[in-house]
Amino acid sequence: MLDRQERRLVILFLLPTSLFMLFLLWLPFIQGVWMSFHLWPFMGEPKWRGLDNYTRFLNADYFWDSIHATIIYCLSTLIQLVIALSAALVMNQPFIPFKSLWRGIMIVSYTMPPVVVGGIWLFLLDPGLGMVPHYLMQFGIIDEPIWWFSNGDWARWLITFVAAWTFWPFMFLIILSSLQSIPREYYEVAEIYGANTFQRFVVVTLPRIKTAILIVVILRLAFNLAKIEQPFTLTGGGPGYDTSVLSILMYRFAFMSGDFGMAFTVGLFLVAFTAILLLPFGLVYQRNLRRHSL
Protein backbone atom coordinates (compact mmCIF):
# COMPACT_ATOMS: atom_id res chain seq x y z
CA MET A 1 0.00 0.00 0.00
CA LEU A 2 2.82 2.38 0.80
CA ASP A 3 5.58 2.83 -1.74
CA ARG A 4 9.20 2.59 -0.73
CA GLN A 5 9.78 6.30 -0.23
CA GLU A 6 6.68 6.57 1.92
CA ARG A 7 7.59 3.54 3.98
CA ARG A 8 11.00 4.98 4.72
CA LEU A 9 9.37 8.23 5.87
CA VAL A 10 6.99 6.36 8.17
CA ILE A 11 9.82 4.46 9.83
CA LEU A 12 12.05 7.50 10.14
CA PHE A 13 9.28 9.67 11.59
CA LEU A 14 8.12 7.07 14.07
CA LEU A 15 11.65 6.59 15.35
CA PRO A 16 11.72 9.45 17.91
CA THR A 17 8.34 8.50 19.37
CA SER A 18 9.31 4.84 19.51
CA LEU A 19 12.60 5.57 21.24
CA PHE A 20 10.70 7.75 23.71
CA MET A 21 8.28 4.93 24.48
CA LEU A 22 10.98 2.35 24.85
CA PHE A 23 13.50 4.29 26.94
CA LEU A 24 11.29 6.63 28.93
CA LEU A 25 8.17 4.53 29.49
CA TRP A 26 8.56 0.79 29.10
CA LEU A 27 12.12 0.12 30.24
CA PRO A 28 11.75 2.29 33.36
CA PHE A 29 8.43 0.62 34.12
CA ILE A 30 9.89 -2.88 33.87
CA GLN A 31 12.92 -1.77 35.85
CA GLY A 32 10.54 -0.43 38.49
CA VAL A 33 8.70 -3.73 38.77
CA TRP A 34 12.09 -5.41 39.24
CA MET A 35 12.96 -2.85 41.92
CA SER A 36 9.72 -3.53 43.77
CA PHE A 37 11.05 -7.01 44.64
CA HIS A 38 14.03 -5.46 46.41
CA LEU A 39 15.07 -3.36 49.31
CA TRP A 40 16.46 -0.66 47.07
CA PRO A 41 18.21 2.29 48.71
CA PHE A 42 19.01 5.62 47.02
CA MET A 43 22.71 4.79 47.04
CA GLY A 44 24.23 1.39 47.71
CA GLU A 45 23.46 -2.24 46.98
CA PRO A 46 19.87 -3.46 46.52
CA LYS A 47 18.85 -6.58 48.46
CA TRP A 48 16.36 -9.17 47.17
CA ARG A 49 13.13 -9.16 49.14
CA GLY A 50 10.73 -11.18 46.99
CA LEU A 51 7.14 -10.20 47.62
CA ASP A 52 7.97 -8.69 50.99
CA ASN A 53 7.21 -5.13 49.91
CA TYR A 54 3.76 -6.15 48.74
CA THR A 55 2.74 -8.09 51.83
CA ARG A 56 4.17 -5.44 54.13
CA PHE A 57 2.27 -2.70 52.34
CA LEU A 58 -1.04 -4.60 52.39
CA ASN A 59 -0.71 -5.26 56.11
CA ALA A 60 0.50 -1.82 57.14
CA ASP A 61 -1.78 0.67 58.91
CA TYR A 62 -0.93 3.33 56.38
CA PHE A 63 -2.40 1.18 53.60
CA TRP A 64 -5.98 1.92 54.68
CA ASP A 65 -5.13 5.50 55.70
CA SER A 66 -3.85 6.03 52.21
CA ILE A 67 -6.83 4.42 50.44
CA HIS A 68 -9.20 6.50 52.60
CA ALA A 69 -7.36 9.72 51.74
CA THR A 70 -7.22 8.82 48.06
CA ILE A 71 -10.98 8.21 47.82
CA ILE A 72 -11.81 11.56 49.47
CA TYR A 73 -9.24 13.32 47.32
CA CYS A 74 -10.89 11.90 44.17
CA LEU A 75 -14.10 13.73 45.04
CA SER A 76 -12.27 16.89 44.07
CA THR A 77 -13.01 15.91 40.44
CA LEU A 78 -16.74 16.20 41.15
CA ILE A 79 -16.36 19.65 42.73
CA GLN A 80 -14.25 20.73 39.76
CA LEU A 81 -16.97 19.59 37.37
CA VAL A 82 -19.67 21.57 39.20
CA ILE A 83 -17.63 24.80 39.18
CA ALA A 84 -16.40 24.31 35.61
CA LEU A 85 -19.82 23.56 34.19
CA SER A 86 -21.44 26.55 35.95
CA ALA A 87 -18.65 28.84 34.81
CA ALA A 88 -18.78 27.57 31.23
CA LEU A 89 -22.56 27.96 31.01
CA VAL A 90 -22.35 31.51 32.34
CA MET A 91 -19.50 32.42 30.01
CA ASN A 92 -21.50 31.11 27.06
CA GLN A 93 -24.35 33.53 27.78
CA PRO A 94 -24.55 36.19 25.06
CA PHE A 95 -25.27 39.05 27.47
CA ILE A 96 -22.11 38.79 29.62
CA PRO A 97 -19.66 41.62 28.81
CA PHE A 98 -15.81 41.49 28.89
CA LYS A 99 -15.70 37.73 28.43
CA SER A 100 -12.04 37.39 27.54
CA LEU A 101 -11.05 39.35 30.64
CA TRP A 102 -13.08 37.07 32.94
CA ARG A 103 -11.76 34.01 31.18
CA GLY A 104 -8.21 35.24 31.67
CA ILE A 105 -8.83 35.69 35.40
CA MET A 106 -10.56 32.34 35.73
CA ILE A 107 -7.61 30.32 34.48
CA VAL A 108 -5.05 31.96 36.76
CA SER A 109 -5.22 29.30 39.47
CA TYR A 110 -4.52 26.69 36.81
CA THR A 111 -1.61 28.51 35.19
CA MET A 112 0.21 29.10 38.47
CA PRO A 113 2.71 26.37 39.36
CA PRO A 114 1.00 23.93 41.77
CA VAL A 115 3.64 24.45 44.44
CA VAL A 116 2.87 28.17 44.31
CA VAL A 117 -0.82 27.45 44.89
CA GLY A 118 0.11 25.17 47.78
CA GLY A 119 2.19 27.95 49.31
CA ILE A 120 -0.61 30.49 48.90
CA TRP A 121 -3.17 28.32 50.69
CA LEU A 122 -0.70 27.32 53.37
CA PHE A 123 -0.50 31.02 54.16
CA LEU A 124 -4.21 31.84 53.81
CA LEU A 125 -5.24 28.91 56.02
CA ASP A 126 -2.49 29.32 58.65
CA PRO A 127 -4.24 29.13 62.04
CA GLY A 128 -2.08 31.89 63.51
CA LEU A 129 -2.09 34.55 60.84
CA GLY A 130 -4.09 33.32 57.86
CA MET A 131 -6.88 35.29 56.27
CA VAL A 132 -9.42 32.44 56.27
CA PRO A 133 -9.38 31.71 60.04
CA HIS A 134 -9.30 35.45 60.72
CA TYR A 135 -12.56 36.08 58.86
CA LEU A 136 -14.19 32.90 60.10
CA MET A 137 -13.59 34.16 63.65
CA GLN A 138 -14.64 37.68 62.84
CA PHE A 139 -17.96 36.48 61.45
CA GLY A 140 -18.42 34.23 64.48
CA ILE A 141 -18.38 30.99 62.51
CA ILE A 142 -15.57 29.57 64.66
CA ASP A 143 -14.50 30.64 68.16
CA GLU A 144 -10.82 29.89 67.97
CA PRO A 145 -8.36 29.02 65.22
CA ILE A 146 -8.58 25.42 64.05
CA TRP A 147 -5.30 23.57 63.59
CA TRP A 148 -6.57 22.10 60.35
CA PHE A 149 -3.41 20.34 59.41
CA SER A 150 -3.11 18.46 62.70
CA ASN A 151 -6.58 16.96 62.23
CA GLY A 152 -6.95 14.18 59.67
CA ASP A 153 -10.53 14.96 58.64
CA TRP A 154 -9.93 18.67 58.19
CA ALA A 155 -6.68 18.08 56.35
CA ARG A 156 -8.19 15.54 53.95
CA TRP A 157 -11.05 17.85 52.98
CA LEU A 158 -8.84 20.91 52.73
CA ILE A 159 -6.44 19.31 50.26
CA THR A 160 -9.49 18.15 48.28
CA PHE A 161 -10.94 21.67 48.14
CA VAL A 162 -7.63 23.27 47.26
CA ALA A 163 -7.19 20.76 44.43
CA ALA A 164 -10.68 21.65 43.18
CA TRP A 165 -9.88 25.37 43.39
CA THR A 166 -6.68 24.86 41.40
CA PHE A 167 -7.68 22.51 38.62
CA TRP A 168 -11.28 23.32 37.61
CA PRO A 169 -10.18 25.72 34.79
CA PHE A 170 -8.88 22.76 32.78
CA MET A 171 -12.41 21.35 32.64
CA PHE A 172 -13.83 24.81 32.13
CA LEU A 173 -11.75 25.54 29.01
CA ILE A 174 -12.68 22.29 27.30
CA ILE A 175 -16.38 22.39 28.22
CA LEU A 176 -16.58 26.03 27.12
CA SER A 177 -15.07 25.35 23.70
CA SER A 178 -17.50 22.46 23.30
CA LEU A 179 -20.42 24.76 24.26
CA GLN A 180 -19.30 27.38 21.78
CA SER A 181 -19.44 24.88 18.94
CA ILE A 182 -23.21 24.41 19.37
CA PRO A 183 -24.95 26.36 16.59
CA ARG A 184 -27.09 29.23 17.89
CA GLU A 185 -29.97 28.15 15.65
CA TYR A 186 -30.57 25.07 17.79
CA TYR A 187 -31.46 27.28 20.71
CA GLU A 188 -33.70 29.42 18.57
CA VAL A 189 -35.61 26.38 17.36
CA ALA A 190 -35.97 25.12 20.93
CA GLU A 191 -37.30 28.53 21.93
CA ILE A 192 -39.85 28.53 19.13
CA TYR A 193 -41.12 25.23 20.51
CA GLY A 194 -41.50 26.95 23.87
CA ALA A 195 -38.61 25.28 25.75
CA ASN A 196 -37.63 27.04 28.97
CA THR A 197 -34.04 27.49 30.18
CA PHE A 198 -33.86 24.11 31.88
CA GLN A 199 -35.43 22.27 28.96
CA ARG A 200 -33.07 23.97 26.53
CA PHE A 201 -30.16 22.78 28.65
CA VAL A 202 -31.36 19.19 28.77
CA VAL A 203 -32.46 18.88 25.14
CA VAL A 204 -29.97 21.05 23.26
CA THR A 205 -26.88 21.58 25.42
CA LEU A 206 -26.33 18.40 27.37
CA PRO A 207 -26.31 15.90 24.47
CA ARG A 208 -23.71 18.00 22.68
CA ILE A 209 -21.29 18.47 25.58
CA LYS A 210 -21.67 14.94 26.97
CA THR A 211 -18.54 13.62 25.27
CA ALA A 212 -16.47 16.63 26.32
CA ILE A 213 -17.62 16.17 29.92
CA LEU A 214 -16.75 12.50 29.83
CA ILE A 215 -13.29 13.23 28.47
CA VAL A 216 -12.49 15.88 31.06
CA VAL A 217 -13.76 13.70 33.89
CA ILE A 218 -11.55 10.81 32.76
CA LEU A 219 -8.51 13.05 32.33
CA ARG A 220 -8.99 14.90 35.60
CA LEU A 221 -9.64 11.76 37.64
CA ALA A 222 -6.34 10.42 36.36
CA PHE A 223 -4.46 13.73 36.69
CA ASN A 224 -5.79 14.44 40.17
CA LEU A 225 -4.46 11.11 41.40
CA ALA A 226 -0.97 11.99 40.19
CA LYS A 227 -0.82 15.80 40.55
CA ILE A 228 0.02 16.04 44.20
CA GLU A 229 2.26 19.07 44.44
CA GLN A 230 -0.13 21.25 46.42
CA PRO A 231 -1.33 18.66 48.94
CA PHE A 232 2.32 17.74 49.39
CA THR A 233 3.19 21.39 50.06
CA LEU A 234 0.19 21.82 52.36
CA THR A 235 0.46 18.75 54.57
CA GLY A 236 3.45 16.69 53.44
CA GLY A 237 1.07 13.72 53.71
CA GLY A 238 0.46 14.21 57.43
CA PRO A 239 -0.70 14.26 60.16
CA GLY A 240 0.69 10.73 60.27
CA TYR A 241 -0.47 9.23 57.01
CA ASP A 242 -3.92 10.85 57.06
CA THR A 243 -3.48 12.85 53.85
CA SER A 244 -0.99 10.52 52.18
CA VAL A 245 -2.94 9.77 49.03
CA LEU A 246 -1.23 6.94 47.14
CA SER A 247 1.00 9.24 45.08
CA ILE A 248 2.13 11.16 48.16
CA LEU A 249 2.84 7.91 49.96
CA MET A 250 4.92 6.78 47.00
CA TYR A 251 6.78 10.08 46.96
CA ARG A 252 7.40 9.88 50.69
CA PHE A 253 8.96 6.44 50.36
CA ALA A 254 11.20 7.63 47.53
CA PHE A 255 12.05 11.18 48.62
CA MET A 256 11.89 11.00 52.42
CA SER A 257 12.82 7.42 53.29
CA GLY A 258 14.87 6.53 50.21
CA ASP A 259 13.12 3.15 50.05
CA PHE A 260 12.78 2.92 46.27
CA GLY A 261 11.54 -0.67 46.15
CA MET A 262 8.65 0.12 48.45
CA ALA A 263 7.98 3.37 46.57
CA PHE A 264 7.45 1.54 43.31
CA THR A 265 5.28 -1.07 45.02
CA VAL A 266 3.00 1.76 46.21
CA GLY A 267 3.18 3.16 42.68
CA LEU A 268 1.82 -0.10 41.28
CA PHE A 269 -1.12 0.10 43.66
CA LEU A 270 -1.67 3.62 42.32
CA VAL A 271 -1.80 2.18 38.79
CA ALA A 272 -4.34 -0.43 39.89
CA PHE A 273 -6.45 2.17 41.70
CA THR A 274 -6.45 4.46 38.65
CA ALA A 275 -7.41 1.60 36.35
CA ILE A 276 -10.31 0.47 38.54
CA LEU A 277 -11.55 4.04 38.90
CA LEU A 278 -11.39 4.81 35.18
CA LEU A 279 -12.80 1.51 33.93
CA PRO A 280 -16.53 2.40 34.08
CA PHE A 281 -15.92 5.81 32.45
CA GLY A 282 -13.80 4.25 29.75
CA LEU A 283 -16.56 1.75 28.95
CA VAL A 284 -19.16 4.51 28.62
CA TYR A 285 -16.79 6.46 26.39
CA GLN A 286 -16.23 3.47 24.14
CA ARG A 287 -19.98 2.78 23.89
CA ASN A 288 -20.52 6.41 22.88
CA LEU A 289 -17.87 6.16 20.18
CA ARG A 290 -19.46 3.01 18.78
CA ARG A 291 -22.91 4.56 18.76
CA HIS A 292 -21.56 7.56 16.82
CA SER A 293 -19.85 5.44 14.22
CA LEU A 294 -23.00 3.37 13.50
Binding site: M1, L2, V10, F13, L14, P16, T17, F20, L25, P28, F29, Q31, G32, M35, F42, M43, A87, V90, Q93, P94, F95, R103, I105, M106, I107, V108, T111, M112, P113, P114, V115, V116, I120, W121, L124, D126, L129, G130, W165, L176, S177, S178, Q180, R184, T211, L219, A222, F232, T233, G236, S247, M250, Y251, A254, F255, F264, G267, L268, L270, L278
Partner: protein
Protein backbone atom coordinates in the same frame (compact mmCIF):
# COMPACT_ATOMS: atom_id res chain seq x y z
CA UNK B 1 -28.48 39.34 16.06
CA UNK B 2 -29.01 40.06 19.72
CA UNK B 3 -32.72 40.43 19.09
CA UNK B 4 -33.12 36.70 19.46
CA UNK B 5 -32.05 36.82 23.06
CA UNK B 6 -34.42 39.43 24.40
CA UNK B 7 -36.44 36.54 25.80
CA UNK B 8 -33.69 35.47 28.20
CA UNK B 9 -35.48 35.96 31.50
CA UNK B 10 -34.45 38.40 34.20
CA UNK B 11 -33.94 35.58 36.70
CA UNK B 12 -31.57 33.84 34.35
CA UNK B 13 -29.57 37.03 33.90
CA UNK B 14 -29.37 37.67 37.65
CA UNK B 15 -28.33 34.09 38.41
CA UNK B 16 -25.68 34.21 35.66
CA UNK B 17 -24.13 37.41 37.00
CA UNK B 18 -24.27 36.11 40.57
CA UNK B 19 -22.39 32.94 39.57
CA UNK B 20 -19.84 34.98 37.63
CA UNK B 21 -19.18 37.30 40.58
CA UNK B 22 -18.93 34.43 43.04
CA UNK B 23 -16.37 32.61 40.93
CA UNK B 24 -14.33 35.75 40.27
CA UNK B 25 -14.34 36.59 43.99
CA UNK B 26 -13.16 33.09 44.90
CA UNK B 27 -10.18 33.56 42.60
CA UNK B 28 -9.37 37.23 43.07
CA UNK B 29 -9.58 37.57 46.87
CA UNK B 30 -6.76 35.08 47.61
CA UNK B 31 -4.50 36.57 44.94
CA UNK B 32 -5.25 40.15 45.97
CA UNK B 33 -4.27 39.25 49.52
CA UNK B 34 -1.00 37.70 48.35
CA UNK B 35 -0.19 40.88 46.41
CA UNK B 36 -0.87 43.00 49.49
CA UNK B 37 1.28 40.70 51.63
CA UNK B 38 4.22 41.00 49.26
CA UNK B 39 4.43 44.72 50.12
CA UNK B 40 4.22 44.36 53.89
CA UNK B 41 6.98 44.77 56.45
CA UNK B 42 8.05 41.40 57.90
CA UNK B 43 6.41 42.17 61.26
CA UNK B 44 3.15 43.25 59.71
CA UNK B 45 2.31 39.90 58.14
CA UNK B 46 0.75 38.78 61.41
CA UNK B 47 -2.16 41.18 61.11
CA UNK B 48 -4.88 40.45 58.64
CA UNK B 49 -5.12 43.81 56.97
CA UNK B 50 -5.74 44.88 53.40
CA UNK B 51 -3.52 47.96 53.47
CA UNK B 52 0.16 47.76 54.37
CA UNK B 53 0.88 50.57 56.87
CA UNK B 54 3.79 51.51 54.72
CA UNK B 55 4.59 50.22 51.27
CA UNK B 56 7.66 48.04 51.82
CA UNK B 57 9.94 46.56 49.18
CA UNK B 58 12.07 44.81 51.78
CA UNK B 59 10.72 41.36 50.88
CA UNK B 60 11.41 41.94 47.19
CA UNK B 61 15.00 42.92 47.93
CA UNK B 62 15.52 39.98 50.30
CA UNK B 63 14.18 37.45 47.82
CA UNK B 64 16.72 38.42 45.22
CA UNK B 65 19.72 39.28 47.41
CA UNK B 66 19.55 36.83 50.32
CA UNK B 67 17.61 34.04 48.65
CA UNK B 68 19.03 34.62 45.13
CA UNK B 69 15.70 33.67 43.63
CA UNK B 70 16.74 34.77 40.12
CA UNK B 71 19.06 31.77 39.90
CA UNK B 72 16.14 29.43 40.46
CA UNK B 73 14.02 31.36 37.96
CA UNK B 74 16.73 31.03 35.33
CA UNK B 75 16.83 27.28 35.97
CA UNK B 76 13.06 27.09 35.54
CA UNK B 77 13.34 28.97 32.28
CA UNK B 78 16.05 26.68 30.90
CA UNK B 79 14.22 23.57 32.11
CA UNK B 80 10.96 24.71 30.51
CA UNK B 81 12.41 25.90 27.19
CA UNK B 82 14.55 22.81 26.61
CA UNK B 83 11.73 20.49 27.51
CA UNK B 84 9.31 22.28 25.16
CA UNK B 85 11.67 22.15 22.18
CA UNK B 86 12.53 18.50 22.76
CA UNK B 87 8.83 17.61 23.09
CA UNK B 88 8.02 19.11 19.70
CA UNK B 89 11.02 17.43 18.03
CA UNK B 90 9.91 14.05 19.34
CA UNK B 91 6.18 14.33 18.81
CA UNK B 92 5.70 16.35 15.61
CA UNK B 93 6.90 13.68 13.11
CA UNK B 94 5.15 10.90 15.02
CA UNK B 95 1.84 12.75 15.28
CA UNK B 96 1.97 13.50 11.56
CA UNK B 97 2.40 9.83 10.69
CA UNK B 98 -0.35 8.73 13.10
CA UNK B 99 -2.77 11.16 11.48
CA UNK B 100 -2.00 10.72 7.80
CA UNK B 101 -0.36 7.38 6.99
CA UNK B 102 -1.83 3.93 7.13
CA UNK B 103 0.22 1.10 8.51
CA UNK B 104 -0.22 -2.03 10.57
CA UNK B 105 -0.96 -1.57 14.28
CA UNK B 106 -1.33 2.18 13.84
CA UNK B 107 -4.24 2.52 16.26
CA UNK B 108 -2.64 0.23 18.85
CA UNK B 109 0.62 2.16 18.69
CA UNK B 110 -1.16 5.50 18.98
CA UNK B 111 -3.26 4.47 21.96
CA UNK B 112 -0.20 3.01 23.68
CA UNK B 113 1.30 6.50 23.65
CA UNK B 114 -1.77 8.59 24.30
CA UNK B 115 -3.01 6.10 26.89
CA UNK B 116 -0.09 7.15 29.08
CA UNK B 117 -1.93 10.46 29.52
CA UNK B 118 -4.15 8.73 32.07
CA UNK B 119 -1.30 6.60 33.37
CA UNK B 120 -0.04 7.83 36.77
CA UNK B 121 3.37 8.51 35.28
CA UNK B 122 4.88 9.89 38.48
CA UNK B 123 5.71 6.38 39.60
CA UNK B 124 8.37 6.30 36.87
CA UNK B 125 10.27 8.79 38.96
CA UNK B 126 11.47 5.86 41.07
CA UNK B 127 13.41 3.92 38.39
CA UNK B 128 14.39 7.11 36.55
CA UNK B 129 16.08 8.60 39.60
CA UNK B 130 18.15 5.44 40.06
CA UNK B 131 19.04 5.25 36.34
CA UNK B 132 19.91 8.94 36.09
CA UNK B 133 22.35 8.51 38.99
CA UNK B 134 23.92 5.53 37.24
CA UNK B 135 24.37 7.18 33.85
CA UNK B 136 25.30 10.63 35.12
CA UNK B 137 22.11 12.50 34.26
CA UNK B 138 21.22 13.15 37.89
CA UNK B 139 21.37 16.85 38.78
CA UNK B 140 21.67 17.96 35.12
CA UNK B 141 19.38 19.89 32.78
CA UNK B 142 19.51 17.05 30.25
CA UNK B 143 18.15 14.75 32.91
CA UNK B 144 15.27 17.12 33.60
CA UNK B 145 14.47 17.67 29.91
CA UNK B 146 14.29 13.94 29.26
CA UNK B 147 12.20 13.25 32.35
CA UNK B 148 9.66 15.96 31.48
CA UNK B 149 9.01 14.23 28.15
CA UNK B 150 7.14 11.49 29.99
CA UNK B 151 4.28 13.90 30.43
CA UNK B 152 4.82 16.25 27.51
CA UNK B 153 5.12 13.82 24.57
CA UNK B 154 1.79 11.96 24.94
CA UNK B 155 0.00 15.29 25.32
CA UNK B 156 1.72 16.80 22.29
CA UNK B 157 1.13 13.72 20.12
CA UNK B 158 -2.57 13.78 21.05
CA UNK B 159 -3.06 17.45 20.20
CA UNK B 160 -0.89 17.48 17.06
CA UNK B 161 -2.47 14.34 15.63
CA UNK B 162 -5.92 15.85 16.16
CA UNK B 163 -4.83 18.83 14.09
CA UNK B 164 -3.24 16.87 11.21
CA UNK B 165 -6.20 14.49 11.01
CA UNK B 166 -8.68 17.23 10.18
CA UNK B 167 -6.67 18.67 7.25
CA UNK B 168 -7.74 17.76 3.72
CA UNK B 169 -6.48 14.26 2.78
CA UNK B 170 -5.26 15.50 -0.61
CA UNK B 171 -2.70 18.03 0.61
CA UNK B 172 0.37 15.81 0.22
CA UNK B 173 -0.72 14.58 -3.18
CA UNK B 174 -1.15 18.14 -4.36
CA UNK B 175 2.29 19.06 -3.02
CA UNK B 176 3.83 16.09 -4.80
CA UNK B 177 2.19 17.07 -8.06
CA UNK B 178 4.21 20.26 -7.74
CA UNK B 179 7.34 18.18 -7.42
CA UNK B 180 7.74 17.83 -3.65
CA UNK B 181 9.07 14.61 -2.17
CA UNK B 182 7.19 13.01 0.74
CA UNK B 183 9.55 14.70 3.15
CA UNK B 184 9.26 18.10 1.48
CA UNK B 185 5.48 17.82 1.53
CA UNK B 186 5.81 17.48 5.30
CA UNK B 187 8.09 20.39 6.04
CA UNK B 188 7.07 22.75 3.26
CA UNK B 189 3.30 22.30 3.48
CA UNK B 190 2.25 20.58 6.68
CA UNK B 191 4.61 22.19 9.20
CA UNK B 192 3.72 25.78 8.19
CA UNK B 193 0.03 24.89 8.38
CA UNK B 194 0.53 23.45 11.84
CA UNK B 195 2.23 26.58 13.20
CA UNK B 196 -0.55 27.68 15.59
CA UNK B 197 -0.88 24.19 17.05
CA UNK B 198 2.87 23.81 17.38
CA UNK B 199 2.93 27.11 19.26
CA UNK B 200 0.29 26.00 21.73
CA UNK B 201 2.05 22.69 22.21
CA UNK B 202 5.30 24.58 22.89
CA UNK B 203 3.49 26.73 25.44
CA UNK B 204 1.92 23.79 27.20
CA UNK B 205 5.13 21.83 27.50
CA UNK B 206 7.05 24.93 28.54
CA UNK B 207 4.55 25.53 31.32
CA UNK B 208 4.84 21.95 32.42
CA UNK B 209 8.60 22.21 32.69
CA UNK B 210 8.43 25.59 34.41
CA UNK B 211 5.88 24.45 36.97
CA UNK B 212 7.02 20.93 37.67
CA UNK B 213 8.01 20.09 41.19
CA UNK B 214 7.87 16.32 41.76
CA UNK B 215 10.38 15.33 39.09
CA UNK B 216 12.72 18.29 39.49
CA UNK B 217 12.79 17.92 43.26
CA UNK B 218 13.70 14.26 43.00
CA UNK B 219 16.24 14.63 40.20
CA UNK B 220 18.26 17.56 41.55
CA UNK B 221 20.00 18.54 44.75
CA UNK B 222 21.56 21.70 46.10
CA UNK B 223 24.04 23.25 43.67
CA UNK B 224 22.33 21.59 40.72
CA UNK B 225 19.67 23.02 38.41
CA UNK B 226 17.05 23.53 41.11
CA UNK B 227 13.95 25.29 39.79
CA UNK B 228 11.76 28.01 41.30
CA UNK B 229 9.16 25.46 42.42
CA UNK B 230 11.80 23.73 44.53
CA UNK B 231 12.88 27.02 46.06
CA UNK B 232 9.28 27.75 47.04
CA UNK B 233 8.84 24.30 48.50
CA UNK B 234 12.01 24.74 50.54
CA UNK B 235 10.69 28.10 51.75
CA UNK B 236 7.41 26.56 52.92
CA UNK B 237 8.96 23.51 54.52
CA UNK B 238 12.06 25.20 55.87
CA UNK B 239 12.08 25.06 59.64
CA UNK B 240 10.24 26.98 62.33
CA UNK B 241 9.51 30.39 60.92
CA UNK B 242 8.20 30.73 57.39
CA UNK B 243 8.98 34.14 55.90
CA UNK B 244 5.50 34.71 54.54
CA UNK B 245 6.17 38.07 52.90
CA UNK B 246 9.10 36.53 51.02
CA UNK B 247 6.97 33.54 50.08
CA UNK B 248 4.34 35.93 48.73
CA UNK B 249 6.95 37.64 46.54
CA UNK B 250 8.31 34.34 45.21
CA UNK B 251 4.78 33.16 44.56
CA UNK B 252 4.05 36.21 42.44
CA UNK B 253 7.35 36.16 40.60
CA UNK B 254 7.17 32.46 39.74
CA UNK B 255 3.44 32.49 39.04
CA UNK B 256 3.16 35.49 36.75
CA UNK B 257 5.26 34.33 33.75
CA UNK B 258 3.16 31.21 33.05
CA UNK B 259 0.01 33.26 33.44
CA UNK B 260 1.24 35.81 30.92
CA UNK B 261 2.22 32.99 28.56
CA UNK B 262 -1.26 31.52 28.86
CA UNK B 263 -2.91 34.85 28.14
CA UNK B 264 -0.75 35.29 25.05
CA UNK B 265 -1.55 31.80 23.85
CA UNK B 266 -5.25 31.87 24.64
CA UNK B 267 -6.31 32.31 21.05
CA UNK B 268 -4.26 29.30 19.92
CA UNK B 269 -5.17 27.24 22.93
CA UNK B 270 -8.92 27.48 22.51
CA UNK B 271 -8.55 26.42 18.86
CA UNK B 272 -6.42 23.53 19.98
CA UNK B 273 -8.84 22.35 22.65
CA UNK B 274 -11.68 22.57 20.15
CA UNK B 275 -9.92 20.25 17.69
CA UNK B 276 -8.69 17.86 20.36
CA UNK B 277 -12.07 16.95 21.80
Amino acid sequence: MTGHYTRIGLTERIVSFAVLFLILALILIPYAYIIVTAFKEPGEVFETSWMPEQLSFQAWADVFTIFEFHKYLLNSLIAGLGSAILAVIISLPGAYIFARKNFKFRETFFYLIVGTLVFPFILLIVPITITWIKIGLFNTFTGLWLAFQIFAVPYCVWILRGFFAQLSPHLEEAAMVYGCTQFQAFYKVMVPLAKPVVISVLFLSFLYGWSDFLFSNMLTTGGGPQTASIAIYIATAGGERIEWEMLAVMTLVAGVPPTVVYMMAQKYLSQTFATAT
